[in-house]
Symmetry: C2
Subunit: 294 residues, 2 copies
């Protein structure tokens, strides 16, 4: 049974590492600050650096906030790369730049190690329930080696392609989710302003081509005005920033993603960083000087 | 059994009227030009004007291209209104302005008659197969009276609310469909430009919150490059024009609907008026100087 390293024990990482310990794995940890006491009690082996984690583990997972944090965790002088030896596998489960990911993978490969990018969706709830969706980029061999470990943390696990393809799939997911929220917002707001009952309009639309998971879940939130998260706007802002940065790097124009980000920015201006992302409709409502349900 | 009037026997109206004749109803017709021979052979009774249709029928259906055509069919001196008497029901199944609809309904109500707005989705295929989705606005009494007739033409039939609510639901439907197409287009194009396989990305996304009927159906069209209609861009341009006009009348800002219309306009500039609406992705591809599948 492989030894596992886990770097980054925040809101997502801590429950994920917990599932691996409960699954019988020996887990070596390193995080900003101390490893949570509950994990230590369960058997986590706290290390003094990423390099020490990498020396002890066969598979090293990173779960940190953004691209610079992954770069730091892997490549600072006391980072993971400093402790790697041939045949080990680095698995980055953070949501970061697909372009930077390809570069990180090359640098890890150059040390004789495999790299998987394996960002997740499902948030804190999915991390705790071990029901995360995991989108993976990398070699099939590495994927098959790590799959039993993924299965302790998630349910819908797909190898999409080579390195970077997991991250771009996550970005694509967040683009569609944001733009489908925006679409439902425009449609229900216009209908409500015209005097129709948005709940009945939503119901009628669910039978046809307008139907989506977002119309079902987030459309209901808009109608019932339940904007407690869920998934916080500030997290979706980070994801759309990744989308727009990647688009600029690759030379792709994403006009509606840009607008959706501006609408999130408008929500933030009204104190909404911690609102559920379905509250993007509030930015449209501010412009219309009218609220659904008014 | 009520006598039915049917005004407008185009690509949609002709098969719809045919279903009513096949259902055993006597159908009085009036259209631009001649009533199709097949309908006459089946028993349609061709009239010289909308007024003559209205004098003979209890329920008068209009199925014409746009708002001015409905206004003309109802209120020109030889139109439907001139032949109405108390207790008859006017049913507009065209897709037209929700704001104008409320005005038309008032003028028909003033003659002692009921009005239903009952636009459809499903297109020519749905009209022929009698599988249209029908979104209805008007009184419950009138709806219940006309329901057996709707059931000869469609399957998913909803009374959304009062007059205009059927039309605004259709507009809302077309907003969401256009913007979900745009969303899938941005996401798959970015993923493809990043080097991922768009077919695999689409497959991975279908398991989560990004899933939609549009990702399933139109996403597949984008990947397989099958842009024969389906639903023609020029028809969706008409629908988004209704959305944007209604938004301006009501004081609502629809930023992404506006962008989607511009992308359709760009497709038209490249000869794409008759492409399927999923080909909106081609406008994004022109901007990116890159095609999915390249």
């Amino acid at each position: 049974m492989a030894n596992i390293g886990f770097i980054g024990l925040g809101i997502m990482g801590a429950p994920m590492a917990g599932h691996l310990i409960n699954g019988g794995y020996t887990v070596y940890t390193f995080t900003h600050g101390e490893t949570p006491k509950a994990l230590i009690d369960a058997g986590a082996k706290q290390c003094a650096s990423g390099a020490e984690v990498a020396r002890n583990a066969d598979i090293i997972i990173t779960m940190v906030p953004d691209t610079p944090h992954v770069e730091d965790a892997l490549f600072n002088p006391e980072g993971v790369a400093a402790g790697l030896s041939k045949g080990k596998i680095v698995v980055d489960m953070s949501s970061i730049s697909p372009v930077a990911t390809k570069e990180f993978a090359k640098r890890i490969n150059a040390l004789g190690c495999e790299y998987l990018d394996a960002p997740v969706s499902g948030g804190e709830v999915g991390a705790k329930a071990a029901s995360l969706t995991i989108m993976v980029g990398g070699s099939e061999t590495a994927f098959n080696n790590v799959k039993p470990i993924f299965e302790l943390m998630g349910k819908n696990i797909t190898l999409v392609g080579g390195n970077g393809d997991g991250q771009i799939t996550k970005v694509a997911n967040q683009i569609i989710v944001a733009l489908n929220i925006e679409a439902v917002g425009e449609a229900l707001l216009l209908a409500a302003k015209a005097g129709a009952d948005p709940a009945k309009v939503r119901q009628a639309l669910m039978g046809g081509f307008a139907n989506s998971r977002i119309l079902e879940v987030h459309g209901e939130r808009m109608v019932k005005r339940t904007f407690d998260p869920g998934f916080r706007i500030e997290l979706h802002q980070k994801d759309l920033n990744l989308a727009l940065t990647t688009a600029r790097q690759l030379g792709v124009s994403l006009p509606n993603t840009a607008t959706a980000q501006e609408l999130f920015n408008a929500c933030a201006a009204h104190g909404g960083k911690a609102w559920d992302h379905s509250a993007m409709v509030r930015a449209l409502e501010k412009m219309a000087n009218f609220e659904i349900g008014q």
